[in-house]
Symmetry: C2
Subunit: 349 residues, 2 copies
């Protein structure tokens, strides 16, 4: 229901050219010169002024504590990552808490301490907050909303509608870790090599990628322009993210299944629960779409970063079968990777 | 619990000079020049650059539809007003929805349509959104978080810590309307003159107030500097807001009870339920603290605005009894108006 709701209802009522892009973060005009209160300031490609990125997410993950993180760390990293995917340097976060009456104060304190540590690790400041308490049974322990603002450096323009035929598609690491950790906790599954959420802030990985491109004389002038799109494959997983980019950019995508790293424990848990890791949520991974001449520099920068050590080219953008993602299996067969129709895993984030 | 939580737990972990002010909106550096990614940019008093205001609130009001509004209108107006209280022109909102499974789509659509209308009325754009669905019984119909960004014009510096002895205190209209409307709905009370929430966006009232001051040669140089603090008395009502300003500014406050307008139906409902209108939430009112020489201009501007027709001076700031609010009753007695200790009315917003 969620995806359909966003697409139909919200777009119908909140229609404007920024929201309509439905990217992870809205990028809006920022400086004193560019702001126009009446009329919506569109991004001006040639401006030297930085632009503001603005994003929000609510977190309802259950259980609220899990291996590799908790709802607080997730709420900070998720919003930091949404900002980072627009190329922005995350700066400020807000935190809105909805608490169920009876939540033990120790649990709240653990979550808040975790948020503070995650904010420090991500170099962001939590500058605005709000708390509401509802009766027992009217919420489930606690829900957290974080919104974030950041600044997109001049020249950086990323978007799900900017992938181009010929682009390489780079994945920063293994998939399915977060989603399968949550599912295994709920189902009480145990594995010999324990599952752990990949929940992590990706802002410094993105900064390293932009930094490595900036001085390079690549195809389209400034080096950063060789990077076309960044996405973090959260809800709906890698397959859903790739489909969204294929549709919005009006391109085809071809993926090589054996190039996609999946941990053994994740694969085992997926088999047990009948899930496909390609559709399972990640919270510390990104997919990059870039001009092929930028691939080597990007991979080198990613491999040197703790959150990009396993980065690999997993596929390419094509001019054929636009709007579709095609997977090449290890045996050489080709199958279409559909968009996730219903929400596969509830309360995963 | 809510107020204590914010004060103790959050400040302990999220400590930084901006959040510590605990005002309605955080005011942070904004332009390309002022932004410093490492280190927290404090507001520079003499800068000519605009500053960014950033705020968040979650809305859990029950019932979600009520006379004069609904949770959607409230979520837009509440965040618009928090921005306006910092002197900011509200520009962009985010909207995060937490939906209980089984919420009728018609109800969601009514709320979304109401948000869109409220956003248009407030001249803001909803540019980022998110939806989460939780199982039936794990939330109550729907909760909405809105965060907002706006720009504070150069020269405007408002804050709960800026009230000064001698300041006049101006209230924009009647108190208690929103809170008593919600309570009456819940209790099934009916009155001959029906109660209606005052839920309204106050950005244009604030703009009119700033506009009227700007050209005036008032005490402290630029006219807008004669305005020291704006607050919207929401949760905890007027009494709580006045106490917060008295404490943060280190001043005393004297209020004249008979100067405070209360509708007859609100008064009747309060008597029936044993509540004091001074502690009941408002969603379309503001309190202004300003140098006395600005009072006439401010009142004239407010009276000319639809949301300030009943604006009146309700008291003064004193150098005596710092940190305390003293109420003069119609009979001439003086009593101390305490801070609301526990949350008097749950789920009022």
């Amino acid at each position: 229901m969620s995806h359909e709701l966003v697409q139909r209802l919200f777009l119908r009522y909140f229609d404007n050219p920024i929201l309509a892009r439905l990217d992870d973060a809205a990028v809006v005009g920022v400086s004193g010169v560019e702001f126009q209160v009446s009329g919506l300031p569109g991004p001006k490609p040639e401006t030297r002024n930085p632009k503001l990125a603005f994003t929000t997410d609510s977190y309802v993950v259950s259980p609220i504590f899990f291996p590799g993180g908790d709802i607080g760390k997730l709420a900070v990293c998720g919003t930091v990552n949404d900002l980072a995917m627009s190329g922005a340097t995350p700066l400020y976060l807000s935190a809105g808490f909805i608490l169920e009456e009876g939540l033990p104060l120790e649990e709240l304190e653990r979550v808040v301490a975790s948020m503070a540590a995650a904010a420090e690790a991500a170099s962001v400041h939590i500058v605005a907050g709000d708390t509401k308490v509802v009766d027992r049974g009217k919420a489930d322990k606690l829900f957290i909303n974080t919104a974030g603002v950041g600044v997109v450096p001049a020249g950086v323009e990323l978007g799900s509608d900017r992938a181009q035929p010929g682009d390489v598609i780079i994945l920063s690491g293994t998939i399915g870790d977060h989603g399968m950790t949550i599912m295994s906790q709920r189902e009480g599954l145990r594995f010999s090599s324990p599952l752990q959420s990949d929940c992590a802030p990706l802002h410094s990985l993105v900064a390293a990628m932009l930094d490595t491109l900036t001085p390079l004389p690549l195809g389209e002038g400034k080096g950063v322009r060789a990077l076309h799109c960044l996405r973090d494959p959260t809800r709906g997983g890698l397959a859903t993210t790739l489909n969204e980019v294929a549709i919005k950019s009006g391109v085809g995508i071809e993926i090589d299944e054996k190039a996609i790293p999946v941990r053994q424990a994740v694969r085992a848990a997926c088999e047990l629960l009948g899930l496909d890791p390609l559709y399972v949520a990640n919270e510390g991974k990104l997919v990059a779409f870039a001009a092929p001449e930028a691939a080597d520099a990007l991979l080198a920068a990613m491999h040197a970063h703790e959150h990009g050590r396993e980065a690999a080219i997993i596929g390419r953008v094509t001019a054929e079968h636009t709007g579709r993602v095609v997977l090449r299996t290890p045996l050489g067969a080709r199958r279409i990777l559909d968009m996730l129709v219903s929400e596969q895993l509830p309360r995963i984030c």
